[in-house]
């Protein structure tokens, strides 16, 4: 079956791209072969005066290259050739004698945008689904089909680098302002507008684009000296953001720079060289694996396929209007557009919670991601009260009250008393086993855990925790609901700490032990940010809240014994009234909500003097291997269903470095034997808490890898 159909009318060829059997259009090898033939026809058929390229898919123009095909690339030269051929194909579009109009509705990403950039005119719909971007760096790659060349020429170096180096997509309105598209039309007349434009271009030629922008544009984008400043600023930003772990943005910057300063031929060469190197490099491999794992998770409902269908959630009830409850409410209103009722003990708390939840929407509105009417509509989804009125219609109730078993049981009983028998009850506990909460439930089959991470609107992970008794319908409902909230969902076992907090526990403990040994706070944190974490473990404790961390620590200690015994450090800080960021006092000082350096008085509280010349290698090893060992142990315990889920959980739950793939992937890369050896060394010096996980030993016996090589 053909991916392209061409209808010629009045000398205008309308080429419709509709890749058979796929939800979105992708530039696969087969598509490219077909497209080349089409280009020959457009070149040679003298009856064709102009062409329109449009998609036959509902909300997708071209989603980009076929990433599956990247993984088959084994050598740098093959990858380089792929890029080069893409560049050539796109060049042939640009040099066609007949003008081509790209009619863009839906996602226009990566290779799709590079193709559109080579067209002679671009019309986009004003629909929110229409997004244009070059997300290649997010996969550790760079735009390799001329995107690093044409985008800066079209919209200027600064705007182009902003898009290429972050990989972010722009909505069509912004694209119009940037000059990335020439016209914005409603979807209903896209085809008509494109045909009209094609006809005009055929008669009058391609219009000269007016130089855009004001003085800064002139100064920075259109002089070599100005651009030098732009490159330097971009490089600094990239270094700060990537910590030197991600090579792609710098290579993209290089390709843009060479193209603008030395001409397009040199630029294209730099582009395909870099693409070739990156595509077979370790970082891109890891990021592509993460991409596939995340995509697979989007289709994994956590139950045997077909064993249940999700319930429609028309009203969400939330008990507990604190920071978590409000965050869940706001995020649900924003993404799921679900009627949401917030309940807390008194109206003042409810009001504060509604305000916090509303902020999730207000922030979007202020950033113009929501129109006034959308904002008003979504805001009206949020309501609350000090009683359970409104809960009788709730299909899903999420409890986000204080971490206290008796309280949670009481809330569950209250909710069961007022809701319909089919309603699902989810606890947003971070540490309490769900079966303990459900122990006195009247309908334990409707009870499960939905563990969100704070702040809910930003953190991408959700752990769904069924008990032995939970009905698959409840599981799939929670999984689907979480996914509609924009979360990546992993289904984890009902064991203390679930997955994320379980593997974090020894890591955070070890950081506290290091402090107690006198290692300075900033040394601990800087070691781990250098290793690739977005924040260090001590800063993470401040973020999580010392009270919450303490509570979690004691739960883990009770469940797993002395291996996970939390050191005294936290208790001492808590006794001093420090809760972390939320009360502005923790290991760090805070000024107007911003971190303002280490609080040196902490050392006095824990009774140590900060040592100098701490051995960073040892610090890193202790922290990393504490985490790896626990991950192996928890996986062996069945805390998580697969290494894939475990790694994604670590990446999205607490920012485990993506370029390392995840803790279990890292064990594979290091070699299980080497991990065990290192742990044994650590055990000799620091004690039994480093005793290698049984899972690692059996892994070695079974061949030594979590993932197929």
């Amino acid at each position: 079956m053909s991916a392209f159909t061409t209808a010629v009318e009045n000398g205008i060829a309308v080429v419709t791209f509709d890749l058979p059997g796929e939800p979105v259009n992708k530039l696969t090898d087969a598509v490219k072969v077909e497209f080349e033939a089409l280009l020959i026809r457009l070149r040679d058929d003298t009856t064709i005066r102009a062409a329109v390229l449009i998609s036959g898919k509902p909300d997708s123009f071209i989603a980009g290259a076929d990433i599956e095909e990247f993984t088959a690339l084994t050598t740098e030269s093959a990858a380089e050739r792929l890029s080069f051929e893409g560049q050539e194909m796109v060049n042939r579009v640009e040099t066609l004698p007949t003008p081509v109009v790209a009619a863009i509705h839906g996602a226009c990403l990566g290779g799709g945008l590079e193709l559109a950039l080579a067209c002679h005119y671009r019309i986009a719909t004003d629909h929110p689904k229409t997004q244009l971007g070059l997300p290649e760096v997010q996969l550790g790659l760079i735009p390799g089909a001329g995107g690093c060349q044409r985008l800066p020429r079209l919209i200027g170096a600064r705007a182009a680098l902003d898009m290429i180096l972050t990989g972010k997509s722009e909505r069509s309105g912004k694209a119009l302002r940037l000059g990335l598209v020439d016209e914005l039309v409603p979807p209903s007349i896209l085809r008509l507008a494109a045909v009209t434009a094609a006809d005009r271009l055929a008669r009058e030629g391609v219009p000269k684009r007016k130089a855009r922008g004001g003085l800064s544009d002139l100064a920075l984008d259109r002089t070599a000296a100005g651009r030098r400043l732009v490159y330097r600023a971009a490089e600094r930003q990239v270094q700060a953001k990537s910590g030197g772990h991600y090579p792609a943005p710098l290579r993209a910057l290089e390709a843009v720079r060479i193209g603008l300063e030395q001409g397009i031929t040199a630029g294209l060469a730099a582009e395909h060289h870099a693409f070739g190197e990156l595509a077979v490099g370790e970082v891109s491999r890891k990021l592509v694996q993460v991409f596939f794992a995340t995509s697979a998770l989007k289709k994994d409902d956590g139950i045997p396929p077909g064993s249940a269908v999700p319930r429609q959630v028309r009203r969400l009830g939330i008990v507990g209007a604190g920071f978590m409850g409000a965050g869940i409410a706001g995020t649900a209103a924003l993404h799921v557009e679900v009627d949401t009722r917030l309940k807390d003990a008194d109206l003042t708390r409810v009001g504060k919670g509604l305000k916090l939840a509303g902020k999730v929407l207000a922030e979007r509105y202020q950033r113009r991601r929501l129109t006034r009417s959308q904002y008003e509509r979504l805001s009206a989804l949020l309501s609350g009260g000090a009683d359970y009125r409104g809960f009788a219609r709730a299909d899903l109730v999420i409890e986000a009250v204080f971490e206290d078993l008796a309280l949670k049981r009481q809330v569950l009983a209250e909710v069961e008393a007022v809701t319909r028998p089919e309603a699902i009850f989810a606890s947003n506990t971070s540490t309490i086993p769900i079966h303990d909460i459900a122990a006195e439930a009247r309908r334990p089959d409707r009870v499960l855990g939905m563990h969100f991470f704070s702040p809910v609107e930003k953190m991408p992970l959700l752990e769904v925790i069924p008990t032995e008794a939970t009905d698959p319908e409840a599981v799939i409902t929670a999984v689907r609901f979480g996914r509609r909230m924009g979360k990546t969902v992993i289904v984890v076992a009902d064991r203390p700490g679930f997955w994320v907090n379980r593997i974090l526990s020894p890591y955070l403990n070890e950081a506290a032990v290091l402090l107690a040994e006198g290692v300075p706070i900033e040394v601990v944190d800087r070691t781990m940010t250098a290793w690739g974490f977005p924040v260090g473990p001590i800063a993470l404790l401040d973020e999580v809240g010392l009270d919450v961390a303490q509570k979690a620590g004691s739960v883990m200690h009770a469940a797993f014994g002395d291996r996970l015994r939390p050191p005294e450090t936290l208790a001492r800080l808590l006794a001093d009234g420090r809760l972390g960021r939320k009360n502005g006092r923790g290991f760090y000082r805070y000024h107007d909500g911003h971190k303002a350096g280490v609080d040196d008085s902490v050392y006095g509280l824990i009774g140590v003097r900060p040592i100098e010349n701490a051995d960073v290698t040892v610090i890193e090893r202790r922290l990393v291997f504490a985490l790896l060992n626990e991950a192996a142990m928890a996986l062996e315990d069945g805390a998580v269903r697969s290494p894939r889920d475990g790694d994604i959980g670590a990446l999205f739950g607490f920012g485990f470095p993506a370029f390392r793939g995840g803790p279990l992937r890292l064990i594979d890369d290091l070699g299980a034997q080497k991990v065990v050896d290192t742990l044994r060394d650590l055990e000799d010096v620091h004690g039994a808490r480093f005793s290698p996980a049984g899972g690692l030993i059996s892994l070695i016996l079974q061949g030594g890898r979590y993932y197929p090589a």
Binding site: T348, K355, R377, L381
Partner: protein
């Protein structure tokens, strides 16, 4: 005791309102739409009604905002309802919400709708302030001007007095008489003393304060999350003065006739912001959905008098008509709610209902009835609670229906006077 009126019986299932607040206080920053939507949504929540059941939304509003001329549509576009629910707003002055309720009842009786959300709203903190007629004409002309020179020339015709803003007046367009002047006139012509007016005002405040304390009034109020942090909770009306006294009321100066007048800010209803909503259903629908109706609408009537005469005497005509349509006598009434626009108006209406001379004028065999204050305005009235023009009718229906349940009363009456010389009366019944 069923009568033979046509159509289906209409159940009053529930009612709810925002707190009523003196204009320019807690709802200063809130739009009428915001108030109306709050009352409507909380009513849906409290009744646990599936929003998809609602067939129509009707709201009363007397002074609509220029930007939202049809506030009912904004209510019906609440995400809890289907966007396909039609909605309209109406204006029968102070009887607007009552009119919304009776229109809803008509639609239900006719079988055009099963479930209707009816109510009303007023925000006098959010009133349209207009330009003078002359300035508007200049602006329109300037807008049409083809050249900048001509445009500036047109605008240059503006005189300072053209720029004086025009605010909506509480005055009769036909006579130019303000509502207060009418109340003053009624006090004089009907011989209503200052003391009698102040005593009624005192009773209104004392009863409303008691009903707030014991929760009967607050039960009808959906708390409002006020202030920039949404943590300033408003659960009650802010015009009720539990500490009011005859002495304090007597101190107040008459507003509309400084020398001989008796109408003061103390014995009149204040300018108020608020919204109220009532859920009405066909009786069979209410049963099918498992609701126990508070009461049923038995009859209603609207009447009008010449506004140049005694403006607020419309109820004197409307009430006997409603009773006649209900086929009951005044003596059958267990509870009466009279809208208190002004104490002088309430006492004038009461005097007329009890008078043989008036009965003759109305063509009745005898007086309409003697008001028993033990069964009338038992939770206070608009003087204390406040009077958001468009919403009061829905408050009265809600209050009366709830109190009829509490007292196990079979028949209740609502009487509302309105601008333009109109009066509105509703009879509720319970089985």
């Amino acid at each position: 005791m069923h009568d033979s009126r046509p159509g289906r019986r209409v159940a009053i299932v529930a009612g709810l309102r925002t707190p009523f607040a003196k204009s320019g206080t807690v709802f200063r920053e809130v739009s009428a739409t915001g108030l109306a939507r709050h009352a409507a949504r909380e009513l849906l929540v409290r009744t646990e009604l599936d929003g998809r059941e609602v067939d129509e939304v009707i709201f009363g509003q007397v002074v609509p905002s220029v930007r939202v001329p049809n506030v009912a549509r904004e209510v019906s576009l609440l995400p809890q309802l289907l966007p396909s629910v039609p909605a309209y707003s109406l204006n029968r002055a102070c009887a607007s919400a009552a009119q919304a309720i009776t229109n809803a009842a008509d639609q239900i009786a006719l079988g055009h709708a099963d479930v209707v959300l009816a109510g009303g709203v007023e925000s006098l903190s959010d009133i349209p302030v207009l330009h003078s007629r002359r300035f508007s004409q200049i602006l329109v002309e300037a807008g049409k001007a083809k050249t900048m020179g001509r445009r500036l020339g047109t605008l240059a015709r503006t005189r300072p007095k053209d720029l004086v803003p025009v605010t909506p007046a509480v005055a009769e367009p036909s006579t130019g008489e303000t509502m207060g002047q009418s109340a003053e006139k009624m006090a004089k012509e009907n011989g209503i003393s200052r003391d009698a007016q102040d005593r009624l005002a005192l009773q209104s405040h004392q009863r409303a304060a008691a009903a707030t304390d014991d929760g009967r009034l607050t039960a009808e109020i959906a708390p409002w999350f006020g202030g920039p942090g949404m943590d300033e909770i408003v659960t009650a009306d802010n015009g009720i003065r539990a500490d009011s006294s005859l002495e304090a009321l007597a101190q107040l100066r008459p507003v509309f006739d400084r020398r001989y007048g008796t109408v003061t800010a103390g014995n009149a209803s204040p300018l108020t912001d608020g919204a109220a909503a009532v859920l009405l259903m066909a009786e069979d629908k209410a049963v099918a959905l498992g609701y126990q109706p508070l009461a049923f609408l038995r009859s209603y009537a609207v009447a009008a008098v010449d506004p140049g005469w005694q403006l607020l005497m419309g109820p004197v005509y409307a009430v006997p008509r409603a009773l006649e349509r209900a086929a009951i006598a005044w003596s059958d009434l267990g509870l009466v709610e009279i809208h208190e626009a002004f104490a002088s108006q309430v006492l004038s209406n009461v005097q007329a209902w009890g008078s043989a001379a008036w009965a003759e004028r109305l063509g009745l065999a005898g007086p309409v009835g003697e008001v028993d204050w033990e069964r009338t305005n038992v939770m206070g009235g608009s003087i204390a609670i406040g009077h958001p023009f468009g919403a009061t009718g829905a408050r009265l229906v809600t209050t009366l229906a709830h109190e009829m349940v509490r007292r196990d009363v079979q028949f209740g009456l609502i009487s509302i006077c309105a601008q333009g010389g109109m009066g509105s009366a509703l009879v509720l019944e319970r089985d």
